[in-house]
Amino acid sequence: MPKAGRLATTLALLIAVIGGVVFAISNLTWQPTTVAFTAGPGQPVNVTLQTVGAYGSGIHPTWVSYMLRTPDGRWEHTTMWQVPAHTRVNVTIYQYDSGSPLRNQQIGMVQGTIGGVATLNGKTFSVINANVGNGVGHTFSMPSLGINVPLYGNNANANLCSAAPCTTASPNNVIRFSFWSPGPGTYPWQCFVPCALGFLYGNGGPMQTVGWMDGFMKVVA
């Protein structure tokens, strides 16, 4: 091979290696945006989430995901949020996905919320029997705080939203509940329904990825 050819090959390989390293580092160090919620003294914070059965775009268009609404009303693809310590957190979840029987009906119970209840489309409930009706699509669970809220599914035969962010024009269930934020710290939360379609036992992909069905609640003083 001529000298120029060897040089070009070497440069191309070098660029490929550097590009690969940069790509790997940028992917490994990437994390979803953290949305901060603030509240005045004695005031609650209001956190609004939605679930979508398929994100619809990006590198994982088929993945199920949570989304978070920022204080200024934008839907952000993140599951990382920050609240003040010892503050009432009012959570509203727009559930746009279908449901199924639960692998473990234990998570069909509402636990850890104020009053031990939540509301589904305005109606108070403490347990959902996932074996009847539309079943449960997802849960909002924070095990370290003992919080678990099942999210009733939508009719799978309805014209469900399949591209985030969904709007209330699509079939949805609205689940509301409240809890008190603990002291400062970082608390993981997740969906406990193995809802990763296409993965063995539904446990891979979005179930194992922060920003999709897992996230952190950061509590600051």
């Binding site: 199920v64 199924s100 029987p101 639960l102 692998r103 473990n104 009906q105 234990q106 069909g108 119970m109 636990q111 403490s126 347990v127 029997n129 996932a130 074996n131 669970s141 095990p143 370290s144 003992g146 993981p188 997740q190 406990f192 329904v193 193995p194 809802c195 990763a196 379609l197 296409g198 993965f199 063995l200 036992y201 539904g202 446990n203 179930m207 194992q208 990825t209 922060v210 897992d214």
Partner: protein, 314 residues
């Protein structure tokens, strides 16, 4: 030659004397000062057994360590080459010393064989050693009054079913003091590991498997439950706390919790040793594994969910 033998005898008397005294002192210091604090403590009979085993192993190991160190130190001090003397070139004693080699081989062989026998005995004593024994335990507790608690692992938390109290399922692990407990450990998804460090219990949680581990709590207090098998994104967050309470407190807690959770218990699948999740990804049905049917009525005299609440344990 006679002087050489005399020197040898004197050296050995010093070495052995030093070794016996330091070993006795070290073993006594260890046993009385450190022994009671060696993990995992004495919160249960299995933890107590593990602590005893660790102590025996260390007490046996200390003289061996000291023998090496003392011999090495003695040799460095007494037999080192002097600056003015000739370079050490070895000799018959450096090449082979049959009495020393024989003593060493016999001593360590006896010690290892003792530890093998001791460890085996400790492992198979009644109730096992707190490890998972699989679905058909060989080493069961002497007591016939065993409280069964099913431990269910899933990504990423533990839940517990109490078949003798209507099969309710809770995130709280509460066990009675001075009562033999059988943990039936299983998983709904991947492999987890149920590790209750302070109780000296450790058993893999495999999907489709019923892994039984026994213990008998003997101290009141709280303990930590951890997953000890890397199981996914939040393996590190898969822990919670349990507590040992008096039998009366346990009875009150269990009957009260059974009543509180009755609204959900009636929707749980029938109690089974293992559960077979639907493998179709997002469809999450949970079914008793028919390959290993379970009858809590026959085995533990339990009632089934939906039956009247009991006033007392069976």
């Amino acid at each position: 030659m006679a002087d050489g033998r005399s020197d040898d005898a004197r050296h050995w008397q010093r070495i052995i004397g030093l070794w016996v005294v330091t070993s006795a002192v070290a073993d006594c210091l260890y046993y009385f000062l450190a022994g009671p604090h060696i993990p995992p403590g004495t919160m249960s009979n299995t933890a107590d057994g593990a602590q005893f085993d660790f102590n025996v192993l260390i007490i046996a190991a200390l003289p061996v360590i000291l023998a090496v160190w003392i011999y090495m130190g003695y040799a460095i001090v007494n037999w080192r080459a002097s600056r003015e003397g000739p370079e050490p070139v070895g000799g018959p004693r450096a090449r082979s010393n049959v009495p020393i080699q024989t003593t060493w081989i016999v001593f360590t062989t006896v010690l290892v064989m003792f530890l093998f026998g001791f460890g085996t005995y400790e492992l198979v004593q009644p109730g096992g050693a707190g490890g998972g024994e699989g679905p058909s335990p060989i080493w069961t507790p002497a007591s016939h009054d065993v409280l069964p608690i099913q431990v269910i692992g899933q990504q990423w938390k533990w839940t517990y079913r109490y078949p003798t109290f209507g099969g309710f399922e809770t995130t709280d692990l509460v066990v009675p003091d001075n009562t033999a407990v059988a943990f039936h450990v299983t998983s709904l998804d991947v492999i987890h590991d149920f590790w209750v460090y302070q109780l000296g219990v450790k058993a893999d949680a495999n999907p489709g498997q019923d892994n039984v581990a026994y213990t008998t709590p003997q101290q009141l207090g709280s303990f930590v439950v951890r997953c000890d098998e890397l199981c996914g994104l939040w393996h590190g967050a898969m822990y919670d706390y349990g507590k040992v309470v008096t039998p009366a407190q346990f009875q009150a807690w269990a009957t009260s919790t059974e009543r509180q959770l009755a609204a959900n218990t009636k929707f749980l699948p029938p109690f089974a040793w293992t559960y077979t999740p639907d493998a179709n990804g997002a469809d999450g049905g949970l079914y008793p594994d028919n390959e290993d049917p379970y009858s809590p009525v026959e085995i533990y005299g339990a009632k089934q969910p939906g039956e009247p609440l009991p006033s007392t344990k069976k």
